[in-house]
Amino acid sequence: MSFSVRFVGFESRADFPQPRFVPGQTDDGTFRLYVDVDSIQQVRFNAFTFTAYVADAKPGGQKAAQFQITGNPTGSFRDAPVRVSFHIKDTGSSATGVILMPVYNATKTDLLQVEEQKEPAYVSISGNSPVLLRMGNVPDALGISVTNLAVSEGCPKCWKRISSTVNEKNPQNIEPGSNATLPIDLLPNTIPALMQGALVIKPDIPHDTLTLMVTYHTVPGGADKKQSVPLKIRFGPGLLGLALALCGGIVLGLTARYLLTGKLGKDGEKAVHAILSAFVFALIAEFIGVMMTAYGNSKLVLFDLDIDPRQLFPAFILAMLVSGGSAVVGWMKGMLGKAT
């Protein structure tokens, strides 16, 4: 990192309030150097400029020398607060000191740390779904201010609206060494989203991948940067859709059972009892399937297929098999066996 210094002139100034002015002092206590962080400006060709003042360290001084300084980074490093040594030469004297001040490097990109998604985010097609994007900042760096979020979709027709409260007037700040969550509100377009996910039943395959373009800058005074973050999405039918799929599956399973065996339940079992049993056990099977796949490391495998019970089609099949009982399962195995 190198700096070039241009003397601007003397200014009547004695007050250098923090945090706008970052102070440093020469080792012999003669002079103070103040960096005006509000004046920091990124320029082209990977350089930055700022205004600094040199004032007498003794109280009562009313005059300060104003300098304009251009910083020129070399190599690649993150924007960070670093200790910079400085020399002040006066008539017949010279003093050195150290100041802790921010330095910048435009060549270093992707300052945000974004956790890799282990599994797609679940978004209900029946309404708004909030998704939280977790982002971090490394320790000993400058703070980061996220000022905008833009999105491009793999399936544009699958979405009615994607919005975020983060913008220039309401930025999301991430302190050094900490994490923050960026809220994104997703509203899918019901039918296209449902169709998009209808045949993708494996739970780890996304139905759509959003590319989030996060605009941010380091604080204070960093240049605007953009970082692309992929967000994998799986559409879900919502509670009502799932309930309808379950009911449909139960009705079809019971009907199939009746057609195969001539009765709805076991020998001597009343029809009402058999129907109620089918509803209760299908509901339990669906509940356990959802809990295990959503919150555990388990998989739900039907006929050698790893399926997601939160989706319409798998929920329908699961309910049909449970309500249909061994008669339907056996019949299906036979059918599949013949098919293969």
């Binding site: 320029v43 082209r44 060709f45 350089a47 304009q68 251009t70 833009a150 919005s163 605007d224």
Partner: protein, 282 residues
């Protein structure tokens, strides 16, 4: 993937109002009837220059891997294009793009390309490098470049402007805030002016011999008479500029300034009066 503008509008923003975000460099075609503005995100906006307005008629997106440092308009072989100097994959590059976004030619460099200008009369383009402080001449028919000179004592060369009639090249040193003048005839260089902060764009006006310098560090456009025996840096315009990153001369003695901080293109008269801006003010 299709990009949709699906976020809610911010307060104060009007639907359908033209926007420009972070313009960093600008150049015009020879007569100054078209203006080309490159923003920080690699989009080249193409404007038609009207009497009192700029009308955007097209835009192209450059490859994300190309980090542009400087650009110049190049009409060659009946094809309008722009030459963009910068880096790609850590290596210096000059790339020529047609106005509909096709890459037409590239020239590879070992060093970081920081400045470029084209002379219509001599049909030559010169390139400056910031890490070796050298000047090269491009072979516009092929893919070769020829070493011209090295500026001794320079720290970090930036933008470049060509005076074809005077056979001179002006190059800014971004690190020390100076402008060098290199003579193609005598092959000698000297400091033309100094005391700048971070000169990031140069435009030479051949009719008057004046060189215009954008200095976002001092938040102003400066000018110097290059034909003077004792060239003096004078301020051309400072208000209302925030971060004048680039500039270009337009027809009718006007100047367009890319103000990065104001997200605007400001057009000034030869007397430094603000004529209009893009996006237009209410």
């Amino acid at each position: 993937m299709l990009l949709l503008g699906i976020f809610p509008l911010q307060a104060g923003e009007e639907p359908g109002r033209p926007r420009l975000e972070r313009p960093i460099m600008v150049d015009s075609d020879g007569p100054g009837s078209q203006l080309f503005v490159l923003d920080a995100w690699g989009t080249l906006h193409e404007f038609r220059v009207a009497k009192n307005s700029l009308e955007e008629f097209a835009s192209i997106t450059l490859p994300a891997s190309l980090a542009a440092s400087d650009m110049t308009y190049l009409p060659a072989g009946g094809q309008e294009s722009v030459l963009i100097a910068g880096t790609q994959m850590g290596r210096g590059i000059v790339a020529r793009y047609s106005l509909d976004g096709r890459q037409l030619q590239t020239w590879a460099f070992r060093n970081i390309c920081s400045g470029i200008d084209f002379g219509a009369s001599s049909h030559t383009a010169y390139v400056a490098t910031s890490d070796s402080n050298e000047i090269y001449r491009l072979d516009l028919q092929g893919t070769e470049s020829k070493y011209v000179a090295r500026i001794p004592n320079a720290t970090k060369l930036g933008p470049l402007a060509l005076d074809e009639a005077g056979r001179k090249i002006f190059i800014a040193d971004v690190a020390v805030g100076a402008i060098y003048q290199y003579s193609l005839s005598t092959k000698a260089s000297r400091v033309l002016v100094s005391n700048l902060s971070a000169p990031t764009a140069l435009s030479f006006y051949p009719e008057t011999g004046r060189l215009y310098i954008a200095d976002p560090g001092r938040r102003a456009i400066f000018t110097v008479n290059t034909r003077s025996s004792q060239p003096v840096l004078t301020e051309f315009v400072s208000e209302p500029l925030k971060s004048p990153y680039g500039m270009a001369l337009l027809s009718s003695d006007r100047m367009a300034v890319a103000d990065y901080g104001a997200n605007s293109i400001l057009v000034f008269s030869s007397k430094a009066q603000l004529l209009f801006s893009f996006p237009p003010k209410n």
